[in-house]
């Protein structure tokens, strides 16, 4: 309380204390990317505490999968990770293949990797668009990113028949072969994706307003990121070069030459830069894969009508656009998994939300939530 002589004397009661305000954001709010509720404790504009509430989109995908055979559960992988469906399916079918001892043919491996990488691009475009909207670039970045994402979705639709819920990968390969013009279409889509990435790069990267809103917002150190179990771009933005595609190559990723972009600061701006660069690296992988893609069958010669893997358990993890996506499967020798557990990357990245947000302004809480690129279906499963 200043005693400014120009101001009229104010009555000041020292007994009167200021109290923190609780602000509820969500569960249905445009900035929460799904049904996510967070309660902010704010002192003025500054966030003192953050309590995330999840579970609004819990459908019991893990439990439901226990009542289904290995093929039927593929559909639930799409619905778990609804922005990177091919990546989630890839992780699941690889877990089943590991369990059942199936070896997919070469062509199927290439088709899967190409589609998974293109799906990574489309997921990152979704991030770039939505992140801009979170920051108030109202609609501009969103429409640009969606224009490019639409090319990818069109391709996925031509290949698998659906725009979102592909259900295209099968244990042992893929459901059916790609259309005859697949190679040309993929090449065209890759070119378009680079143009789109360049557009968004021009629009956002050097923009002072964008930098002011993201630089040094939501900083996370490498140690904290590891402690929280963060993975994917959130971890790499901190400066740790950890990517399962390189460090624990699954499928055929060891055959491709690509860089792993890392940040240095661990803030929202670095997470944005890492994802933007990952689009370009994914295009590199796709271009190499499309050149190497052999002809041949797309399913193994002898595929049992109903899969009955021997009793055992397996954990398979893959690098999804949002981080490490893991499938833990237990088989008891029947046609249905005894237990299917999904390790979701969004859930672990979300754990770091409070740590990143406390101390920042309310508006930055939205930025930070957007910067971890959350998929609530994956969090709640």
């Amino acid at each position: 309380m200043t005693n400014d002589p120009d101001l009229p004397a104010m009555t000041y009661d020292p007994e009167l204390e200021t109290i923190d305000l609780n602000i509820n954001i969500g569960p249905q709010h445009p900035a929460t990317h799904g049904v996510f509720r967070m309660v902010l404790v704010v002192d003025g504009e500054r966030v003192e505490d953050l309590v995330p509430h999840i579970g609004y989109m819990h459908r019991g995908a893990e439990k439901l999968s226990e009542h289904m055979d290995y093929r039927q559960a593929i559909g639930y992988q799409d619905r778990t990770e609804y922005l990177a469906q091919f990546n989630a399916e890839l992780c699941y079918v690889q877990a089943v293949e590991k369990l059942a001892g199936l070896v997919p043919p070469e062509r199927a491996e290439y088709i899967r990797v190409i589609l998974a990488e293109l799906n990574r691009i489309s997921s990152h475009f979704m991030f770039l668009g939505a992140f801009g909207t979170d920051l108030g670039v109202f609609g501009t970045s969103f429409t640009y990113a969606f224009r490019e994402r639409e090319n990818l979705l069109d391709l996925f639709e031509e290949v698998s028949g659906d725009r979102l819920m592909y259900a295209y990968f099968r244990p042992g390969g893929v459901a059916w072969d790609v259309p005859h013009n697949f190679v040309e279409r993929v090449k065209w889509v890759c070119d378009q994706a680079l143009i789109g990435a360049k557009d968004l790069d021009t629009l956002l990267t050097d923009n002072e307003i964008f930098i002011a809103r993201t630089l040094n917002i939501g900083k996370l150190s490498i140690e904290d990121a590891i402690d929280f179990g963060a993975s994917g771009p959130v971890l790499r933005a901190c400066g740790l070069k950890f990517d399962l595609r390189r460090d624990e190559p699954y499928s055929i990723y060891d055959r491709f030459d690509f860089d792993i972009p890392v940040g240095s600061n661990g803030d929202s701006y670095d997470r944005y830069l890492v994802r933007l660069e990952e689009i370009r690296q994914s295009v590199r992988i796709v271009r190499q894969a499309i050149d190497q893609m052999p002809d041949g069958p797309i399913l193994p010669e002898k595929l049992p009508r109903a899969l009955r893997p021997a009793a055992g358990e397996v954990y398979m993890r893959c690098e999804n656009p949002r981080g490490e996506y893991g499938i833990y499967l237990i088989s008891r020798g029947s046609t249905q998994p005894y237990r299917l557990r999904i390790r979701s990357s969004s859930f672990c990245n979300l754990a770091a939300l409070k740590h990143m947000t406390v101390g920042h302004y309310v508006a930055d809480a939205v930025t930070i939530l957007g910067s971890i690129d959350i998929v609530l279906c994956e969090v709640d499963r």
Binding site: H67, M68, D69, R71, Q72, A73, I74, G75, R79, T140, Y144, R147, E150, E157, E158, V159, S160, G161, D162, M165, A167, A175, W176, D177, V178, P179, H180, D199, L200, T202, L203, L204, D206, N207, E208, I209, F210, I211, P297, I298, L299, L303, R305, A306, T335, Q336
Partner: protein
């Protein structure tokens, strides 16, 4: 300031581009021939009966249990016109439940079911969700009108699902030269298949 101006060049570049928008209700994007909307049943024009024999394979394989199937003796088999001993009696698919996973198409032994790959499979909004439960006549309607798109021939020769040629869409609009329906499953085969399939929870 320079950064903001640079951003504006991106906006200006887009301003010059041709619009990609489609005025949806008035004009429709062409859907690819692999489009998977909702499952429908196919009509065998050679014998004038459905391909479906009511073998319950799709009903058992459905992850969300959206199908109800019953079979009956085929009167045309008794007359010697058809090879199908049994024929579909009632078939209901609840489109409100269906998750469009294509598994029913893959497990069908008679290529009798296919995914609707036209726009009619998408524009299904109703005021009452009971209208989304389709009966046999409604499910066969599209195939009888020969409205489905055929898959491209190059993909058809190479593509296969579980060792069998894909897709059944090849039978769409089948005429005199259409492939005849296969032999119906014997009781032994059907029970063997039943054991292979997962029990209904």
């Amino acid at each position: 300031m320079i950064g903001v101006l640079k951003s504006l060049t991106a906006t200006m570049g887009t301003f010059m581009r041709k619009p990609v928008t489609i005025q949806y209700p008035t004009e429709h994007r062409k859907v690819p021939e692999r489009e998977r909307a909702f499952p429908i049943l196919l009509w065998d024009f050679n014998i004038d009966e459905p391909f479906c024999t009511g073998c319950h394979a799709c009903e058992r394989a459905c992850p969300v249990e959206c199908m109800t199937v019953t079979m009956r003796d085929n009167p045309l088999f008794a007359e010697g016109k058809s090879k199908r001993r049994k024929i579909i009696d009632e078939f209901y698919i609840d489109y409100g439940r269906c998750m469009r996973c294509n598994i029913c198409v893959e497990v069908c032994n008679f290529d009798a079911i296919a995914m609707n790959n036209t726009w009619s499979g998408h524009e299904l909004s109703t005021v009452d969700r009971k209208e989304l439960i389709l009966d046999l006549d409604q499910l066969l309607d599209l195939s009888k009108r020969k409205d489905l798109q055929a898959w491209d021939p190059a993909a058809e020769t190479r593509a296969s699902t579980e060792g069998r040629p894909q897709p059944p869409i090849a039978q769409v609009g089948a005429t005199e030269d259409a492939p005849a329906a296969g032999e119906p499953l014997t009781v032994a085969e059907r029970s063997a298949e039943e054991q292979d399939s997962p029990p209904t929870p």
